[in-house]
């Protein structure tokens, strides 16, 4: 039978709404890209159009004023180290808190939940002092530790939710077969937590990469600056030069965007795997 698809008014309105929202997310980026290739005069006269002359001046200026290579290195180093450490530490904790029984377990779990409510940024002062005393100010390790610490509660919580769903029978079976708990962790828990861990890896990567408060506080030497910190500096120094600012945003955007695209494929596979249970 031939079925005509109804084009109702409500459907049209809904689509217009969705497309409108989509435009609001895409257009600013297009604006950024186009503006970054204009010089200041062109930008003021021709804000919305394509550049009359496509100029690379802004990008050249930024590469000249900032050691982009060093900043990229710092950002990647700090972010990847943080993500790896966080994944290991939180998955171990989730395993312990949901599948192993010992005295004080509930108390420790409540501690994690309590910390969830605490805004990490309010702890700037004591953390600075602690890092000072540990001699870690102006080291990359300091921000790595802070990033891991401020995201531990949430990551552990998410992993606990997932870990609880792992059937106890599988663990028991492995134990009967003589597996030690480290083995159980490595061969059973970790593989089953993979979808959540992938999600956390992406979320943590983005949040560490984009972090500004503690990197500003703890990474004072210019050679330790991350890409995001560099952008803040740019904002402060050349805030009125819009096209220059836009090119800074674009440079900053690209690594995060690439990681996003790489993980996006893996993520949709992961979510599909998780819901296919």
């Amino acid at each position: 039978m031939f079925r005509k698809k109804k084009i109702t008014l409500s459907k049209v309105i809904v689509y217009l709404f969705l497309i409108g929202v989509a435009i609001s997310t895409i257009y600013p980026v297009i604006f950024m890209i186009l503006s970054s290739f204009k010089d200041k005069i062109d930008y003021m006269k021709n804000m919305f159009g394509f550049p009359t002359v496509w100029k690379l001046n802004n990008y050249k200026a930024i590469f000249n004023s900032f050691d982009i290579k060093q900043m990229m290195f710092n950002s990647f180093y700090v972010t990847i180290a943080g993500v790896v450490i966080s994944l290991i530490v939180t998955s171990m904790a989730a395993f312990s808190l949901t599948k192993l029984k010992y005295k004080g377990r509930n108390g420790i779990f409540s501690l994690f939940m309590f910390v969830l409510m605490v805004p990490g940024q309010a702890l700037m002062m004591p953390i600075y002092v602690i890092m000072s005393k540990l001699g870690l100010v102006n080291t990359r390790l300091s921000v790595i530790l802070v990033y891991v610490a401020t995201s531990i509660a949430f990551s552990t919580y998410l992993l606990c939710q997932n870990c609880r769903d792992i059937p106890d029978e599988i663990i028991e079976a492995a134990r009967i077969d003589g597996a030690g708990y480290p083995r159980v962790y490595g061969c059973i828990i970790v593989p089953m937590l993979r979808p959540t861990m992938a999600t956390l890896a992406i979320l943590n990567f983005l949040s560490y990469w984009n972090e500004i408060v503690y990197s500003r506080l703890l990474l004072q030497k210019t050679q330790l600056h991350t890409m995001t910190l560099g952008l803040l500096t740019l904002n402060g120094k050349y805030g009125t030069n819009m096209p220059l600012l836009m090119s800074g945003l674009i440079i900053n955007l690209i690594p995060a965007l690439m990681i996003f695209m790489i993980f996006n494929k893996y993520l949709s596979k992961g979510i599909a795997m998780g819901s296919g249970k």
Binding site: F17, F112, P119, Q121, M125, I127, I152, A153, Y181, L206
Partner: protein, 308 residues
């Protein structure tokens, strides 16, 4: 066969209740939770305790730290700027939480029906979540600047009187910050809602459809109750965000200005602690911030429980 089964049963029981098993769980339980716990204690709990302690002193960040009891708190409540700051937080809370919760929910409910192009929308909506707050803040600052695109558009449409310096007044800068936060975050909220919706048994949806329910009825009576927990969790998270994630936006977009018109509590703590050097005062402010968040969380969970 029975002997083997019996042996397995015996083995199972041994594993479940044996002394070795108990101590194995204990040892590994502590071992596995230790790294996370240590990091948590040293870099989160210890600072929290220190903040409580320093709030009762006149610590200046250096060596001076005399106990002054509740003087900081008294000074805070005598300070009119403090109440301006609280008001700003309230504005963001009351504007932000509904917007940040409902806008993505609406979109998720529409997209959930797997309309044409939903994958495209999902990706496009999530894209801003990838950007750092510095990028988002700078973008909005540029767009809403006096000579920015928004004003240019308004002037072209003849609405000159609306083309104001948006970020120069607390009245307009706070809503714009709320807008920026929404723009940056609604995509990930949509994904979270969609993930929760996919956990709902499709059988219920089909039954409702057979009963003749249209999209609105299905959404309100099937989808929404089905993801109630996630929505509640999102509300709580948004409330916490309204108090703890605004710092970077304020830093990039308005610097709290003019005066204290767009200063939020987080930023106020930063100003008093790092700019003015009065860390004791700033610590007391932090304690007030913690208490505020705890109280609101408590209220929210009580209300939530009542509805059950």
């Amino acid at each position: 066969m029975t002997t083997i089964a019996k042996k397995e049963e015996g083995g199972k029981r041994a594993v479940q209740k044996g002394r070795n098993e108990k101590s194995a769980q204990r040892i590994w339980g502590y071992a596995f939770v230790a790294p996370a716990l240590i990091i948590l204690c040293v870099f989160m709990l210890l600072p929290i305790l220190q903040i409580f302690y320093y709030s009762l002193t006149n610590w200046n960040g250096g060596l001076k730290s005399d106990f002054i009891g509740l003087k900081n708190y008294i000074d805070i409540f005598k300070n009119p700027d403090f109440f301006t700051v609280l008001k700003n937080n309230l504005v963001i809370l009351l504007l932000g939480v509904p917007v940040w919760t409902i806008f993505p929910l609406l979109i998720a409910m529409i997209i959930y029906e797997e309309i044409k192009g939903y994958k495209f929308f999902k990706t496009v909506y999530f894209f801003p979540s990838v950007l750092s707050i510095v990028i988002v803040g700078t973008l909005f600052k540029t767009f809403f600047g006096y000579v920015g695109p928004v004003n240019m558009l308004l002037r072209n449409m003849g609405l000159d009187h609306l083309a104001i310096e948006w970020l120069a007044e607390g009245r307009t800068s706070l809503p714009i910050i709320v807008l920026a936060v929404n723009w940056a975050g609604f995509g990930s909220a949509v994904l979270i809602y969609l993930a929760a919706m996919s956990a709902i048994d499709p059988g219920i949806h089909e039954a409702a459809q057979l009963d003749g329910a249209n999209w609105l009825q299905k959404s309100l009576y099937v989808t929404l109750p089905g993801i109630k927990n996630v929505v509640q969790f999102t509300i709580v998270l948004n409330i916490i965000h309204a108090f703890s994630q605004m710092f970077s936006y304020v830093l990039v977009m308005t610097n709290g200005g003019p005066g204290y018109e767009s200063t939020v509590l987080e930023y106020f703590i930063y100003l008093k602690g790092f700019r003015a050097g009065d860390m004791g005062y700033a610590s007391a402010l932090s304690v007030i911030l913690f208490v505020l968040v705890c109280v609101i969380n408590l209220l929210q969970s009580l209300i939530g429980r009542k509805e059950d």
